[in-house]
């Protein structure tokens, strides 16, 4: 029984770890997608460091457990038990040293990555985009020709007529040229400053390729800035349970070259 346990445990450990090395299965990848953001490599690096450190601990402890159980299986009747060399002390010391050093490094480096994303504010030239989440769609607003966002009036929200943000163009000139779209289009290599807000319940803004996730909390305007570094079409999905349509709450993110973006913006301005 002990040998079986040890063997099964070692097989489980090997198979679990193998996916770490071979995670592409035809059209299906069980790994992080391409990183398309400036800060993303920091996140990825941190994740890999943690992967190596904790992966080592995982393999070591599972294999030791499996090994000890294996050994324990065919000992003779009347066996005098042995104590682990040194008793509890090496356990405590190695746990404090191994794990302590690992968590010290992780929190030190990790905090820098986190700080790089959240403790800094966007540079002055960043492109502002207003993001509104609601059951169950995202809408994006660009300031338009005048560079000013119209004020929000929640009581004026009327989705049937396309007034998703609650703008008041009749009385508010700044709102008249605001561009409202359902796909977020941004230029590559330019900093973007999002202002996230929700009109009903908590939603979340998650783009895998940007390594970004931020809850969108009603009552709060949450700033989030990033720079996309690869053109392409990505999905923005909601990751905070928001009701029956949660799983269908998404929008596309299109990262275009500056020229393509300028052309797109001109077309949108003309359509207003």
């Amino acid at each position: 029984m002990g040998k079986a346990f040890g063997a099964v445990l070692i097989i489980i450990t090997v198979v679990s770890t193998a996916v770490f090395f071979f995670h592409d299965f035809g059209g299906m990848s069980l790994w992080l997608p391409v990183d398309a953001s400036e800060h993303g490599h920091g996140v990825d690096h941190q994740l890999m460091e943690t992967m190596y450190g904790s992966g080592f601990l995982f393999v070591l402890s599972q294999i030791l457990l499996g090994l000890f159980v294996w050994q324990a299986s065919d000992r003779p009747q009347g066996w005098k038990y042995r104590i682990f060399p040194g008793g509890a002390k090496p356990m405590v010391i190695s746990a404090i040293l191994l794990v302590g050093i690992e968590i010290l490094t992780l929190s030190f480096v990790g905090s820098k990555v986190w700080a790089g994303i959240y403790f800094t504010s966007a540079k002055p030239g960043a492109l502002p985009i207003d993001v509104q989440a609601g059951q169950f769609a995202f809408y994006f607003r660009y300031a338009g020709v005048d560079g000013k966002f119209g004020a929000l009036h929640p009581d004026k929200i009327d989705e049937g007529s396309g007034n998703f943000f609650g703008l008041d163009p009749r009385n508010d000139e700044a709102a008249r040229d605001d561009i409202v779209v359902a796909t977020m289009v941004i230029p590559v290599n330019r900093e973007i400053l999002l202002t996230l807000h929700s009109k009903d319940v908590i939603h979340s803004f998650y783009v895998r390729e940007l390594r970004l996730q931020q809850d969108i909390v009603p009552g709060l305007m949450i700033p989030l800035h990033f720079t996309a570094t690869k053109t392409g079409r990505y999905e923005i999905v909601c990751t905070q349970l928001c009701g029956l349509g949660h799983y269908q709450m998404k929008a596309y993110l299109e990262v275009k070259t500056q020229e393509e973006f300028d052309k797109w913006l001109k077309d949108q301005e003309a359509a207003q």
Binding site: L47, S54, S61, F119, G243
Partner: protein, 586 residues
Amino acid sequence: MSEAAHQHGEPTGFIRKYIFSVDHKVIGLQYIGLGIVAVVIGMILSWLMRLHLGWSTLAIPGLEKLSPTGAPANVMTPEYYLSLMTMHGTLMVFFVLTNVPFAGFGNYFLPIQVGAPDMAFPRMNMMSFWVTFTAFLVLIAAFFVPGGPPLSGWTAYAPLSAVGESSGPGEGLGQTLWGLSIAIFCVAQLLGALNFIATTLDLRTKGMSLARMPFSTWAWFITSVIGLLAFAVLLPACILLVLDRVAGTSFFVPGGLVINDRMQPHTGGSPLLWQHLFWFFGHPEVYIAILPAIGIVSHILPAFLRKPLLGPRVLIGCLAAIGFLSYMVWGHHMFVSGMNPFSAILFSVPTLVITIPATIATLLWIGSVYGARIRFSCASLFCLGFISVFISGGISGFFLAQPSIDTYLHATYFVVAHFHFVMGVAAIFAMFAGIYFWLPKMVGRMMNETLGKIHFWLTFVGVYCIFMPMHYLGLAGNVRRYAAFTDDFLAPLVPVHQFITIAALITGAAQFIFLYNLVWSRFRGPKATENPWQATSLEWSTTSPPPFDNFGGRQLVVHQEPYLYGVEGSAGDYVMQTSPETVEAH
């Protein structure tokens, strides 16, 4: 005090003996029984969910009968999926993971392990169970009310859970019942925790110093202290949530919300307040589930290793440290919630620090296995399995404790894998170990070891097949709490979900072997002796099952440390705690 608490004689009527009983043993069995009912429901719910995740357009025969609106033409709607998920989480966390290892086994064995005839407050103890049972009925009622069962998850984030029916199906009466049920549950837990603490501190028999208490007793004691503080926060939070729903208050709902084109009447509340209150309870709750499990495993393991664990004092210190730290880390559930990003660091560091006592405990177990001649039984296999899944679940905590990584992995299946391993599967393994180990004591019959071993192997391999792939799904960004995977990047991952579903069906089916074994052994199992495992603690110094006052009028005197295995004693290779003989150190 112990006499005062136990003045009442043994009741004779069926109702006072088995239903409204003040006997902690009956109450313990009632908790375990309720837990088994809850876990069966919860597991069937997870089957339905898994089927839907694997094959989202699948018609599940009979589902329409269960809920005509939730599954028209037997195809599950997304709101019904979310309701099942909510009920699964709530049932499992509250009525299984809290009820069985803590309230169930704790009630049965804490008084016996300290040599007391009953709990300190037997009537309050009876009340705790029946209040818990009421909470259970209220929660189950939420399945059948108009508007459907609640769907905002076991975390019930406001405002979704607070604004009422306008925010969609499942947010009507069902959600109110959810809030009430949890509030009632908190009351029961508070009463139970007080009782445990008083019993541990006041009713220990002669010679039972704190240092001579078994690990399980220590774990139940520390858990009671955690529970006392944690449930005392969740109770008012649930009351406030229910008030927001029915009395028009705005504790958790900000002003200016527009739901379905309609302005909401609320003003000035904070959705983050609910999260802070909930997680201030919610994180310690993880330890309310896992500390008793750790205690049970540490208690059972030495009896089968036939040697004491390494560093028993260190292990108890680790439990206490985990309990203490559990109050400083709730914010790690909220890294991306919109709270101040500076506080993320503040919550991240103690979260990582918790891994130190957890790692020490794990290494102590592994080191204790070294050099032993293990008696392989179902109980010991589940203990060894526990160590393995506890490692697997704990390791992923390193990732989620760091805000910079959590910003990618938060709300993905990586998290699902993490907490299912470390909190769900680990605690359930400890419960299985506890039942295989203690059932002879509780009902006086041995369980069938062959069936038990089949059950162990299917479960052990099964849970790895279910939860290990979820880590990789999480790394691929697979979002949790989705009723179906229709997004472009999620659709290719569906085959993995189908694999997990099949594994879950098989593993779930294996649990019926256990149930069969349980029922069969209860009536047909071979009679158990007083001490079938040759174990040392006080529960093995009385008959199986113990008499009404636990020791038949004797007052036990404790002479020994709790785990004297592998020493020459009059009974064999072990010395009972009650044995007055002199023992030489190994």
